[in-house]
Structures are given as structure tokens and as C-alpha cells.
């Protein structure tokens, strides 16, 4: 009935498992090694400091200053985090502490759908709604001429994209705080709001910080949606209404031309390496932060 006997099947299954595990275990090193290997060509002729801090970006002349992209990425990411953190925090408190239990059952699918919407669709939405909103209303309101394609547009779209991600973690955190702790606080005569403000938030603080950190890492590498609305102008932005350029957008926009200019593909792989490093760094940092905190 079977091609192989039990023992043989066990051996096959076992080696299949082990082989798969090895792929996974080596993946991070392969990612890092592969990208480092490719960006080596660029690192040979440019110092890391120059690459990060020089402003001029002229691949045909061999000038690779990533500064405008790095600054653009940082602006968009920080703004997005600044927008979505309070929204997520307030909503998480609302659905876990104030709203009826049933409400969470409505909230979960909403979060899941928001998390599932593809990046490009967010980009389409950004072009349809956010960009006109900025050029027609928000810009004039602040007395600024803006095309709409700007750092701010990128940040808006990005902030909505990371809301489900951060909100999910925050809701989990607030849910794991034991009811007895709340009871203990209330029985001291604290009002519900005092309980939330003095005890709940303090208890959840490490988790809140971690969720924002994870969100930051996620936002920094987000490509398509930001690329579609951020303007893609290689210039250090001076205001949030200026167009900008981000690191992921740099990679995505230029993959077609890389082969014609020497060192260009190496430069793009270096950008990818930077993104990988930032992502790994923040995730590592947050994991250790949580691990450290959990000891107490």
C-alpha cells in the first residue's frame, strides 16, 4: 500500500523537516550576505560616512549621497508614527476598557481588513483622496502652495497603514493586564479614569513603547504606497508640504536603469542593506527591551 515502510517514511519526513528548517535558519544570513556582497562594489570606493551624509546624488558621475533619501524616510516615518500612535492608543483603551465586549468582535475584522489591504491599494487611495485633500484644502489653509504629492501625504497614507499593526499589539497588551489589578486600584477609591491614567497606562508602558518601535520598523521599509504619493524629488525637504523621496522608493523606482550605469545597482543594493539593517536593529532592540522588562 505504501511505497516506503514506516521507518523509511520517518527518515524522509525528518530530513524534509530539517532541510526546511535550515533554509529558514540561514535566510537572515543569506539576506545580509547577499546584499552586502552586492553593495561591496560601492563600499569599496565610498566611505560609509560619505554615503550617508553627502547630499549629491548623481549616479552617472559616481556621486552617491543617500542623505536626501534617508532624511525623507525619517520624516515620513516619524510623522506617520506621530499621527498613528495617539489614534491607536486611544482606540485601544476605548475598545478594551470602555466599550462593550461585543464591540471588540466588530473591531477585529476591521483591523484585519485594514491590515490585509495591499500597499498599492493604499497608494491608490492616497492619490485619490489624500493628495487632492492636501493640495486643495490643507496646503492653502496653511498658506502653502503644494502639489499634494508631499512628505505629508506619504506620512498620512503610511500612518493609516500601520494603524492595524500597532493597534493589534496595543489591544493585546491591554487585554493581558489582569482584571484583579484594576479591581485593586478601584477598591482604593480611584475612579475609572484615574485607574486608566495612573495604573493601566503605567503597567502597559513598556508594551506601548515596543508596539511603537515595531510600527516604526515596519513603516520605515514601506515602499509602494509611500512611493506613489510622496513626490519622488531628490531634495532634502524643508517642510512637510515639500515633495520628498524615501529609501525604499529609490530602490523601487530605479530598478530598470541599474544595468546601464556602473555602481548603480550596487548603490540600490546598499539602500536595501540599509533598510534591512534598520529593520533588524529596531526589531532586535524591541525584543531585548521586552525581554528585559519581562524579568521584573
Amino acid at each position: 500500500m505504501y511505497l516506503l515502510n514506516r521507518q523509511q517514511r520517518h527518515v524522509v519526513n525528518y530530513s524534509w523537516m530539517l532541510f526546511s528548517l535550515l533554509i529558514i535558519a540561514f535566510l537572515p544570513f543569506m539576506l545580509f550576505g547577499g546584499l552586502y556582497f552586492k553593495s561591496f562594489l560601492l563600499l569599496k570606493t565610498h566611505t560609509l560616512k560619505d554615503l550617508i551624509f553627502l547630499h549629491s546624488w548623481h549616479p552617472s558621475r559616481g556621486e552617491f549621497g543617500f542623505y536626501p533619501f534617508i532624511v525623507g524616510s525619517i520624516w515620513v516615518t516619524l510623522l506617520a508614527i506621530l499621527i498613528s500612535t495617539p489614534i491607536c492608543l486611544l482606540t485601544a483603551i476605548n475598545v478594551t476598557q470602555y466599550a462593550k465586549k461585543r464591540f471588540l468582535r466588530i473591531m477585529h475584522p476591521v483591523i484585519d481588513i485594514l491590515a490585509g489591504i495591499p500597499s498599492v491599494v493604499y497608494g491608490v487611495w492616497g492619490i485619490l483622496v489624500i493628495v487632492p485633500f492636501i493640495s486643495r484644502y490643507l496646503g492653502p489653509w496653511f498658506g502653502v502652495q503644494s502639489m499634494g504629492y508631499s512628505i505629508l501625504a506619504g506620512a498620512f497614507v503610511l500612518s493609516v497603514m500601520i494603524i492595524p499593526f500597532i493597534l493589534n499589539i496595543m489591544i493585546e497588551i491591554f487585554r493581558t493586564i489582569p482584571t484583579e489589578l484594576k479591581e485593586a486600584t478601584l477598591s482604593l477609591g480611584a475612579t475609572k479614569w484615574q485607574m486608566v491614567k495612573h495604573v493601566l497606562l503605567r503597567k502597559a508602558l513598556p508594551g506601548i513603547i515596543a508596539s511603537v518601535g515595531f510600527g516604526l520598523a515596519r513603516a520605515f521599509g514601506e515602499t509602494m504606497a509611500v512611493l506613489m504619493v510622496v513626490g519622488n524629488v531628490i531634495k532634502v525637504p524643508h517642510s512637510v508640504f515639500d515633495p520628498g523621496y524615501t529609501l525604499p522608493a529609490l530602490i523601487a523606482n530605479n530598478y530598470g536603469e541599474v544595468l546601464s550605469i556602473p555602481q548603480y545597482d550596487s548603490a540600490l543594493m546598499f539602500a536595501a542593506l540599509l533598510l534591512l539593517a534598520v529593520s533588524l536593529f529596531f526589531n532586535l532592540l524591541m525584543h531585548f527591551f521586552i525581554a528585559r522588562y519581562n524579568k521584573y
Binding site: 526546511s20 535566510l27 556582497f37 525604499p248
Partner: protein, 285 residues
């Protein structure tokens, strides 16, 4: 003192309700704007034909190439990721169940690479392609997307498998089964619903991501017919057509966005429905 506290609470509660409402409204606006724009451009031709001559100046044709391409690519990557992912998840929960530290290290690595942006996978996939001498093709796309969804697949399965009670393993061992039988026969069956959810989640990621296929899968007006040929995908058809100055072409981008959104919605509906139904037949210890 009491009164200011009360006022403060009222203020923040209003703010909380506003932010909660805001999230619902934003989702509503996204869905509405995609449907409103997409429906206008939607037609039978759009869904059933590939681009014909002069398509990119606004002449006839549809996005069938992208729809089929996306489905084929996402299916391929999901199957491949499943074939690698399920054994890893099982190995972690059956063979390494007593080695908590090692399992946690693997989980940690998986969480790390889950966080890596898809554009990095795209760049890496490109490097890998050049290294093994592969052109932009369906195969290259599948490999890259597989790497990208692997951590998602494994970790979601892992979260389900780790809830399988010890008692079940003990009962199975006492019947004389070996570890791989326990893994593939008992654990998989006990966790069917969770595994399906993990697969659907990964499929949704695979079909929606643009940045990882940008370098690797390429784009074509033809239906996919070989692993070695480039393949069109919905996310890229949105991206490329939206960049066109011709309004008719732009409209097709909206139609593509609508199709992609509907696929995603169906996938997430399925995973909710299936998840619920299978749960009821689950054995409880």
C-alpha cells in the same frame, strides 16, 4: 479636583470615540473610493481579455494577464511556502518541544525576518536571480515571494500548533506512533483550521505585495505560460497604469485595484468563516 477629573475623562472619552470612529471611517473611505473609481472602469472585457494593440494609449483590452498572473504567482508561492513552512512549524512543536530555548531562538529569528520590508526581499531576490542566472520570470517571482511569506506562514502555524495539548502527544505516543507520525498525522489534523488560516493569510500577503515582484517577476501582456517567462501581476498593473498620462489607462488601474481589493476581501472573509467552523470540531482536553 473631582470635577476637573470628570471633565478630563469626558474629554478623553470623546477623543477615544473620535479615534475609534476615525478608523471605521477611514476603512469606509478606502473601500468606497476604490469601488467608486473601480466600478466606473470595470467591464466584462476588462476581466476577460489581455491587453490588445494600442492598449497603453487607451484602446481595447483588459487585465486578464494580471489577474491570472497574480493568482498563479500567489498560488505557486503559497504552495512552496507551505511545503517548507509546515515541516518547520511541526518540527518546532513536535521534535523540539522539550528544547524551549532553541524553539524560542527560531521564533525570534522568524519574527526578525517577518519584519524585513518586502522591497528588501525584492532586492535580494534580484541578487539571487543574477547569481543563479535567472531572468525576470514567474519562477523568480515565486521564489522571492515564497521567502517573503515564509515567516508569516510558519509563525501563524506555530501559534496554532503550540496550543496542541501535551496530553494528545502522550496519548499518541502510547499507541506506539513515532514523532513524524505524531507530527504529520495528529498535529496537522488537530490544527486544520489554524493551518488553513495561516495559508490564507500568506496567500493574501503574496497576492497583494508589489515591491517583492517588481524586480523579479517582470511584466508582460501575455498570460503566463512558462515558469521561465515574465508574468504580470495586479499590484504592478495598478502601479504602472496609474503612472500613465492617458486617463483611460489610469481608469484601468482603478479597475485592477478593485479586483485586487475584492480578492483580498474574499480571502479574509474565508479565513474568518473557515476558522470559526473548524474550531467547533476541535477536540478539547
Amino acid at each position: 479636583m473631582k470635577r476637573t477629573l470628570k471633565a478630563e475623562e469626558t474629554f478623553f472619552r470623546i477623543l477615544m470615540n473620535l479615534t475609534t470612529g476615525f478608523i471605521f471611517i477611514i476603512l469606509g473611505i478606502i473601500i468606497y473610493s476604490v469601488f467608486e473609481k473601480g466600478m466606473k472602469a470595470m467591464s466584462w472585457e476588462m476581466l476577460t481579455s489581455v491587453p490588445s494593440g494600442g492598449y497603453y494609449y487607451g484602446k481595447g483590452g483588459g487585465i486578464l494577464n494580471a489577474i491570472v498572473g497574480s493568482l498563479v504567482l500567489a498560488f505557486g508561492a503559497t504552495i512552496l511556502a507551505f511545503l517548507i513552512g509546515l515541516p518547520v512549524a511541526l518540527y518546532m512543536n513536535v521534535f523540539l518541544v522539550r528544547r524551549k530555548k532553541l524553539v524560542n531562538l527560531i521564533r525570534f529569528i522568524l519574527d526578525l525576518i517577518w519584519g524585513v520590508p518586502s522591497i528588501v526581499y525584492g532586492a535580494f531576490g534580484f541578487t539571487l536571480m543574477v547569481f543563479i542566472g535567472l531572468q525576470t520570470s514567474l519562477l523568480a517571482g515565486i521564489i522571492t515571494v515564497t521567502l517573503f511569506i515564509l515567516p508569516i506562514m510558519i509563525r501563524s502555524m506555530d501559534e496554532i500548533l503550540r496550543t496542541v495539548p501535551m496530553g494528545l502527544s502522550e496519548a499518541t505516543y502510547s499507541l506506539g506512533s513515532n514523532k513524524s507520525e505524531l507530527a504529520f498525522k495528529i498535529f496537522t489534523r488537530q490544527s486544520v483550521s489554524g493551518i488553513i488560516t495561516a495559508v490564507l493569510l500568506s496567500f493574501g500577503r503574496a497576492i497583494g505585495d508589489a515591491a517583492s515582484v517588481l524586480f523579479t517577476a517582470g511584466y508582460t501582456d501575455n498570460l503566463p505560460n512558462s515558469l521561465m517567462e515574465p508574468v504580470a501581476t495586479l499590484p504592478l498593473s495598478i502601479f504602472f497604469q496609474l503612472a500613465s498620462p492617458v486617463p483611460e489607462v489610469q481608469a484601468r488601474a482603478y479597475a485592477s485595484a478593485l479586483v485586487l481589493t475584492i480578492i483580498i476581501l474574499i480571502v479574509s472573509l474565508f479565513s474568518r468563516g473557515l476558522g470559526k467552523r473548524y474550531h467547533k470540531t476541535k477536540i478539547n482536553f
